[in-house]
Amino acid sequence: MDLENQKRVLELSEKHGKENVVVVLGASEAESAGLAAETVTAGDPTYAGPLAGVSLGLGVYHIFELKDEVDADVYDEQCGMMEMVLDIDAIGAEVKSIRDQYSKF
């Protein structure tokens, strides 16, 4: 996750409280989704950004996991195409595994 986004996540979680922040990812591969999920829960695995050594433990989901929470028309318009071409099972499994290990909320 790039340094700017790490900074934003850190600031938002300080402002609103970690229990009130959920991160929704849109990454197109399992590996990058997992790295982003790890960054906002256990801390930046690359130790380069503001979240290096900071374990926020935020709730984190990929948008594909939230299909049932979103208006069907909006989901179809925004995610329908990508849902067809990406490996949504692998992405979902990776994010869930990180969430189960490190999310505290």
């Binding site: 340094l3 695995p45 690359t46 130790y47 380069a48 950004g49 503001p50 290096a52 050594g53």
Partner: protein, 347 residues
């Protein structure tokens, strides 16, 4: 307690990306960025007392100045161990890690270690001077790189025996070590051959160096009008070897005029090469540098013409670096002389 100083660039120091790559070196107490992970991996016996942060551009553009500045900073902490990176595939960062590690090793005489992707130019430049743990090409490999670097660096600082690259995870340094084996060489060689024939895994005992491959250029379409040059690493020189090209590990090449020469004879040409039986080349140097056949092709109109000069050196034990240097010089001449193709003969 083992005192460690860690070196990172401006990015891992949290200062910024490319726009901050020109920052001068600074030293901070304790850990910064990847040092946090390193601290955990090093355990209780070691402590990162300070972290040097330097911009990649600054370091590479001010190599000597930056090295001596950083060396002074490191000295103050009297470390027992120096760790740089990991740099993954970041080229300037890799070169900085390698340079500073070598400088610290040479001047403070303490163990040093870095981590890089094998294709990082810093790895090629410094793998012989220091242990460089092989890493992934991007920072996503931090989780694997850090424990491997910590483990090997503790071994180095404790003076423990360091195993081969495949066991310890560092990039091969080109060092050969004599060891005793139960089975004699011929038997081991046959075992390897049998494993290879069966398609089984085997490990060579004599790894070949990596040579880059040169993609062939497109074929000459109009050979009738092409000017062709002869170049050889077979050591053919005018009799007496006027430029004293060495019989092995040549440090130079020769350029000789063959205008009007239709045949190389025992009276006029010979080989300077010390790596093969020279009798047949000395009897008739056309056997290595085929001027006679080229003249025939010229006469028959198959080629446009033979270039007026031939270039020659001795390939025997001559380093790849020297060969590249020779070729990059004379290739420019060949191109500006309008040569379209070269026939390169060896021994």
């Amino acid at each position: 307690m083992i005192k460690v100083v860690h070196y990172i660039n401006q990015f891992y120091g949290g200062i910024g990306g490319e726009e901050k790559a020109d920052i001068k070196p600074e030293i901070r107490k304790g850990t910064v960025g990847p040092g946090m992970a390193l601290k955990g991996a090093l355990g209780e016996d070691a402590q990162i007392v300070a972290t040097v942060i330097c911009g990649d551009s600054y370091f590479n553009e001010n190599l000597e100045e930056a090295t001596s500045e950083i060396l002074e900073m490191v000295k103050e902490y009297e470390p027992d161990l120096f760790i740089a990176g990991p740099a993954f595939n970041a080229g300037r960062y890799g070169v900085a890690c390698g340079s500073i590690c070598k400088a610290v090793k040479d001047s403070l005489n303490i163990p040093v270690i870095s981590g890089m992707y094998p294709e990082n130019p810093g790895a090629e430049m410094f793998k012989k001077d220091l242990h460089i743990i092989e890493t992934a090409n991007a920072a996503t490999g931090m989780r694997q790189a850090i424990p491997a670097m910590a483990k090997l660096s503790l071994k180095l600082v404790k003076g423990e025996e360091i195993g081969p690259p495949s066991d310890e995870g560092y990039i091969p340094r080109g060092i050969r070590k004599n060891i005793f084996r139960e089975e004699r060489g011929s038997k081991r060689a046959v075992n390897i051959l049998v494993a290879k024939l069966k398609g089984e895994e085997f490990e060579t005992e004599y790894a070949m160096p990596d040579f880059d491959r040169v993609e062939p250029n497109p074929a000459i379409v109009d050979l009738k009008n092409a000017k062709i040059a002869l170049v050889t690493s077979g050591g053919i020189v005018p009799k007496g070897n006027p430029d004293r090209i060495e019989a092995s590990s040549a440090s130079k090449y020769g350029k000789y005029d063959i205008e009007g020469v239709t045949d190389l004879t025992a009276e006029t040409y010979e080989t300077a090469h010390g790596g093969y039986d020279p009798v047949y080349a000395n009897e008739d140097a056309d056997r290595v540098l085929p001027v006679d056949v080229m003249r025939d092709l010229e006469k028959e109109g198959i080629i446009g013409g033979l270039h007026r000069y031939f270039y020659t050196t001795v390939g025997n034990g001559t380093s790849v670096a020297n060969s590249k240097k020779f070729a990059s010089t004379f290739t420019k001449e060949l191109v500006s002389d309008g040569v379209q193709a070269v026939i390169l003969t060896s021994t």
